[in-house]
Structure formats: structure tokens, C-alpha cells
């Protein structure tokens, strides 16, 4: 949480207020109700800190919260919040599905006769830092590895030399940064250089 980085106050300086943020949605606790994961936020707070939970979600607090807003508007607000939550959940589901369906393409590209480069595309969908993975490859294979943009404008890792087999193995074993990348999604492709005049 951000509070860890709070500066130390000197004698005259006014010390910072520590705001408790929700673990689920990162908002200050009182704003959870406007977030897209209200039920989850509520549950996690109830488990962690009952006093605070009472402060925000007891009957009394709920009554007070109504404030100047009319009952009608309030119920509409609640409905909106529920709809928003459902939508957010759906979106997260769809994102997960898409993630599981996305493919990693390992391409062996012929540069010159028996010289190859290997390009790996699609790793970023699994939340890995491409730059760091490129570094890892470079270290492992003792060759150059870089993150470049392909003609479609997407990022991919290009490793010098034919290491496609080794990379497939690495992904299967989940070495280092490649942990959590599903091996079922790996596709190997070969790209031959076209002969001049074709």
C-alpha cells in the first residue's frame, strides 16, 4: 500500500494522514460502494476489521449516508452499482477467456542459408515483462535477444539463432519469468526465406 512510502515528519512539519485503502479495489474504504467490486470489498473488510466494517456498513451508517438524496434516487444508484458490478465481472471473465485462448507463436525465420533467428510473439498476453524475458533468453542462450515491433506494430521478442526447441522446453518447464504461461497455447512455425526473383 502507498502508506509504506510515507515520509517521516520532522518536528514542525505536519505529519501525513494514513488513509486505509481497500485491498480489493484500492479505493479508500468509504468509496468501495462506487467501485466495481463492492460485494468483494465488503467481504474482505468484514473478515479483516470488524470495527471498520461496522463503521461503514452498519444500519446506522447506511441511514446516515442517505443524506440529502431522495430514496428514489438512492435505489436507482444501488441498481446502477449492481449493474456495474455485473458488467465488471463479465468483462473480467471475457478477459480471462481471451487470455487462455490467445496463442504464443514461436517462429523460426531463415535469414541466410543455415542462419536463423527465432521470434516469439504473444507472450505479453500472459502478463510477462517482454524486456526481462528477452534478457533471460539472451543470458540463457548467450546470444542477442531484443524486443522489436513486427510489421503489424505488435511487440515480439527476436532471439538470434535457432532456439525454437529450447524455448518451447523453457515454456513447458516454466523457467524463471515464464512461469504460468500455458504450454498448450504454443505454436511453432517455420518461415523460409523466399528465393530472389520469386
Amino acid at each position: 500500500m502507498a502508506s509504506a512510502a510515507a515520509p517521516e515528519a520532522s518536528s514542525q512539519a505536519i505529519s501525513p494522514i494514513q488513509v486505509r485503502y481497500c485491498e480489493v479495489c484500492t479505493f479508500p474504504l468509504e468509496y468501495c460502494e462506487f467501485g466495481s467490486s463492492f460485494t468483494k470489498c465488503k467481504e474482505s473488510l468484514a473478515e479483516e476489521d470488524e470495527d471498520l466494517y461496522d463503521k461503514y456498513y452498519s444500519e446506522e451508517a447506511l441511514q446516515k449516508k442517505l443524506g440529502t438524496i431522495s430514496l428514489e434516487a438512492q435505489s436507482k444508484l444501488e441498481k446502477d452499482a449492481a449493474a456495474k458490478e455485473a458488467k465488471a465481472e463479465k468483462k473480467a471473465d471475457a478477459a480471462l477467456k481471451k487470455k487462455m485462448a490467445s496463442q504464443i507463436t514461436i517462429k523460426r525465420i531463415e535469414r541466410h542459408k543455415r542462419k536463423y533467428v527465432t521470434s516469439i510473439h504473444g507472450l505479453e498476453a500472459f502478463g510477462v515483462d517482454l524486456k526481462k524475458v528477452a534478457k533471460q533468453f539472451a543470458q540463457k542462450f548467450a546470444t542477442g535477444a531484443s524486443v522489436t515491433k513486427n510489421p503489424q506494430g505488435q511487440d515480439e521478442i527476436v532471439v538470434q539463432g535457432d532456439v525454437s526447441g529450447d524455448i518451447v522446453e523453457m515454456i513447458e518447464d516454466g523457467v524463471g519469468l515464464l512461469k504460468g504461461v500455458p504450454k498448450e497455447n504454443v505454436v511453432e512455425v517455420e518461415e523460409k526465406k523466399k528465393k530472389a526473383g520469386d
Binding site: 510515507a6 517521516e8 505536519i14 501525513p16 488513509v19 443524506g67
Partner: protein, 184 residues
């Protein structure tokens, strides 16, 4: 301003700031925010190097050890980040919007005058009028902490009189991409 912001595409470079420039930033902040020297010193110690993160559309974010402290658009006023306003709520003049406006604010909308002038809202009294073009912290009815930061589009007295259209332009709010960005 930060509704859509991703460090990978929108940041164009990071540089450390020269001490002479740091000095002018420091004096600028001291004159713009209601903060005394010691408090600023505890937020941003003189010895620590400030990093300037240049972003698209002339936005510059200043960070300390990777944590955004404040930002600036073109060479306009300095805005603290929302997390900083939570820690030091007195930095900027305060306005409050009513409960009905919160969800619009959290969707990134600008704040309209009626939300500020209604019963749940708050504008400073006439003798403490906020002029147009001042950064303000936006609080919400029944809540303890700020939900956003904005810049006034007209004087607060004018807001009361006109009571129509945008009163405060939202700059950053709870849950936008600057909020999501804890480290740069």
C-alpha cells in the same frame, strides 16, 4: 486528463531534474499550495533527486523514487497526486459535491455547478472566493477523503450565480489511470 493513460505508450522519457529547476519548482509549489516549508521538506527532501517523467500532450509527472508526487500540464499550475491529497488534505482549497455527483465524477465527468451549489455541496464563503483557474481538491458529501482534483472554470461566486454548466474541470479522480499507477 488521466482517464486513459498507460506508461508503455504515453511516457516518452525520464530525466532527473537540474537543481536550479528543482529550486524554481519548489518555490512555485510553496506559492501555489497552502503548505509550509517544513512539510514540503518532509514530502520531498532537498537532498532527494526529483525525476521528471515526460508524457504525451505536455503532461509532466514528477516522481520521487518512482512514486508520483505531483504533475503539471504544459507550464500550468502544479497538482499533487490524489494519494498525496489523501495524506495532506490541506494542500489545495476544498470544494464538495453532493452524493449524486460522485458516480459521475468517478466516471471522469467534469463537475457541474448544481452539484456544488446544492445542499450536499460546498463552496467557500464569498470572502474566501476561489478564482477561476485554481486547482481545487474535490471532496464528496458524507465522505472523509477527497475523490478528485480539478481546476475551477469560473469564480466560485459566479458558480453560485450562474448555477449551470461546468464549474470544475476534473483533472484526476479516484480510479483513473494515474490512480492505478503507483510506481513509475
Amino acid at each position: 486528463m488521466f482517464k486513459k493513460f498507460s506508461p508503455s505508450t504515453d511516457v516518452s522519457g525520464q530525466t532527473s531534474v537540474k537543481t536550479s529547476v528543482q529550486r524554481s519548482i519548489r518555490s512555485g509549489i510553496l506559492s501555489q499550495w497552502s503548505i509550509d516549508q517544513d512539510t514540503l521538506e518532509s514530502i520531498w527532501p532537498k537532498k532527494e533527486p526529483l525525476i521528471l517523467v515526460k508524457c504525451r500532450e505536455h503532461i509532466s509527472i514528477y516522481t520521487l523514487h518512482g512514486e508520483p508526487l505531483f504533475f503539471q500540464h504544459f507550464d500550468g499550475p502544479f497538482y499533487p497526486t490524489l494519494r498525496m491529497v489523501h495524506k495532506y488534505p490541506f494542500l489545495l482549497p476544498m470544494v464538495r459535491v453532493d452524493r449524486g455527483a460522485i458516480r459521475f465524477l468517478l466516471a471522469g465527468a467534469h463537475m457541474m455547478c448544481p452539484g456544488l451549489t446544492s445542499k450536499g455541496g460546498y463552496l467557500p464563503p464569498p470572502d474566501k472566493e476561489i478564482k477561476a483557474g485554481t486547482p481545487v481538491a474535490i471532496f464528496a458529501e458524507g465522505k472523509e477523503h477527497a475523490v478528485g482534483l480539478g481546476i475551477t472554470k469560473m469564480d466560485t461566486e459566479e458558480m453560485r450565480r450562474v448555477n449551470k454548466n461546468t464549474g470544475i474541470e476534473t483533472v484526476t479522480y479516484l480510479g483513473d489511470d494515474l490512480w492505478a499507477l503507483q510506481k513509475l
